[in-house]
Symmetry: C2
Subunit: 373 residues, 2 copies
């Protein structure tokens, strides 16, 4: 951990809550700060929805601070706190453990934020803050078990090497999970992505992977895991990533991914507007649907407000998206296409916004304008 | 080439010139169209300037239309037009030819566009539309020679598989080079990037690489090369990518990369504003400098308006950036840092904007605001 943290860790809750930087809304135009964040934090272009596994350079990225430069040779992961045996693991130690490779869909909790009115001020995602990679790593639970978690340990705090200031608070990026969530069998420490070492922007050399949860839980550049006997109150856990109706908390924490479907925009684009032009006749519409709350049970496509069921493929994995498709008989004129999914918890995407103060979990159904000729 | 081109190729110069989509300026707020383009087209985060070779997922991307999905097994490159022998090459044919691997810096001609006032309406790059990859491919000249270019051939037209509408014109992305430029020994057909096959977003399975030129010349998803006996008048050649003072052409075409330097922002960032906080004392400032017009001769760092020479490393390759560094003795307070480079043609980056209508080649010196504590 850098000298900054030791010397300057501080917290200004008043500043945080009053500042738009903590997620306050704006009805004004997009700011230069938001533009900088849009340039740094990559969306997945929606045509990449055609791929089961998103090519690494097309997977979305959200990096709160700078991408750290880490030497894997000298890096290690420290596991301590309320444990009977502190552990320090090298990357070789972790790679020598039983390996699992599995496709997992990750989505940023802020996906869709820029479409909310008024617009919460943070990374102004449109709809592409998603991706599915084939991750390789080792389950976390046996490692935690070998450390001897104390009986009074209630959470694990996962701390990354990325470090900076957000909402007046200076901290490394850190998130916690309850012991029960952290011990789930699908939670992993991962070092591989699509058959290669993690790229720097995805957490090289090691990140946490929490399938089913929005991406903030899958802490990148993992430096330490600390068992704690009280609730972790770091900024990214206690202030950011909450469903709020105004600047005052506490609100409900953001956890699992809300059900969503997206479609590959059909036909050809206009460069500037991204509006689509399609030839009349049968058009294969297709996309993906996913949820952290259960299996996808149904996907429907709306053509000018009339909903029709799509064909649904089996999911690419227990925590990965499902493909869907539907043939649309396109007739000349202007059309509005939508898609919406329902998961096994009964949650269904809405076509009107469900606003919140930080712009979290906006799974409003996608709308695609198409000119058929 | 798709059926769209055959049936609907058309051109509306009036619409193109009148439309802001062709690059007209705005003094108004950022539009939702620009935001969509910022989300699709990835910048390189400036902390990646510390790497000689940019990791593939961090290299900038500009895709005018959709990223095409190409099956390398059935793909081929057709070379025809004013040649004595038409050629069709498979990927295996091209990979069987002599291979060269070389680092080359590519930059989008629109890099820095969003900093211009008024702001030309197109992809609103801040400063990160750059990257250096290690490219693997084979020189183009021997292939052209084997096709028997006609004596009256004046240009080669390079056409990609990406297709759509821009400024009222519906076309595949296509650019030309004069025969003399195309025959330069450094011009290559490339199929590898950083030791892997080209990622889809960088032109899989094959792209042109024109070292020294802005990125638009290095046509991706290359489908055909056609020798022509007149000047190519496609949209991306004749309308886009020109230095203009207003909507009327012709202006000068955009060709080689203007001299530029950038620095790794020092210290730690604020998440939202990206403003930097630095500890007082010696701070190693570093970055990269490059030019398509000659070697980098000098890099200077400006601290609150006072310019000092930086140390300059040898370039990473004949057409790749050079590292630079300088120790700054940071004193508490607010500071403005800049860097500027001069190349062997005598061109020097300016600290005031040199505006043009499409926002091309804006190499105004970077400005970094730093708080030292």
């Amino acid at each position: 951990m850098s000298r900054y943290q030791l010397k300057h860790r501080h917290r200004s809750t008043a500043a945080t809550q009053a500042s738009p930087h903590a997620g306050g809304p704006s009805s004004g135009p997009l700011t230069s700060e938001e533009l900088q964040l849009a340039g740094r934090n990559h969306s997945m272009p929606l045509e990449a929805l055609r791929e089961d596994i998103t090519p690494a350079g097309l997977h979305y990225i959200l990096t709160h601070f700078d991408i750290p430069h880490i030497d894997a040779e000298t890096w290690s992961l420290r596991i301590g706190g309320a444990v009977s045996r502190e552990i320090e693991l090298s990357l070789d130690d972790i790679m020598a453990r039983p390996a699992v490779t599995t496709p997992v869909t990750l989505e940023c909790a802020g996906n869709g934020r820029s479409l909310l009115k008024p617009r919460p001020l943070s990374t102004p995602w449109v709809l592409g803050a998603v991706g599915t990679a084939s991750w390789t790593g080792t389950p976390l639970a046996p490692i935690l078990a070998s450390s001897g978690l104390a009986d009074d340990a209630v959470e694990l705090v996962f701390t990354g090497a990325d470090y900076g200031i957000q909402g007046g608070t200076e901290e490394p990026f850190a998130r916690s999970l309850t012991v029960a969530e952290a011990m789930r069998p699908e939670v992993m420490l991962v070092y591989g992505m699509n058959g290669s070492p993690l790229p720097p922007q995805h957490g090289f050399p090691l990140r946490l992977l929490v399938p089913g949860w929005y991406g903030m839980a899958s802490v990148k550049w993992l430096a330490s895991i600390e068992a704690v006997t009280g609730r972790f109150e770091g900024f990214q856990q206690a202030v950011a990533y909450h469903y709020l109706q105004g600047p005052e908390g506490p609100g409900l924490p953001v956890t699992r991914i809300r059900v969503r479907s997206l479609m590959v925009p059909p036909g050809i684009p206009d460069f500037f507007t991204r509006k689509r032009v399609v030839e009349a006749g049968p058009v294969m519409l297709r996309g993906r649907a996913w949820s952290g709350h259960g299996e996808i049970e149904r996907v429907e496509v709306g053509i000018d407000g009339e909903w029709m069921p799509a064909n649904l493929d089996p999911p690419a994995g227990d925590f990965a998206w499902s493909g869907w498709s539907m043939v649309w008989l396109a007739t000349p004129g202007e059309h509005e296409l939508r898609c919406r999914a329902m998961d096994s918890s009964g949650a269904l995407q809405q076509t009107t916004q469900v606003w919140n103060y930080q712009g979290m979990g906006n799974n409003m159904a996608q709308l695609v304008h198409v000119t058929v000729r």
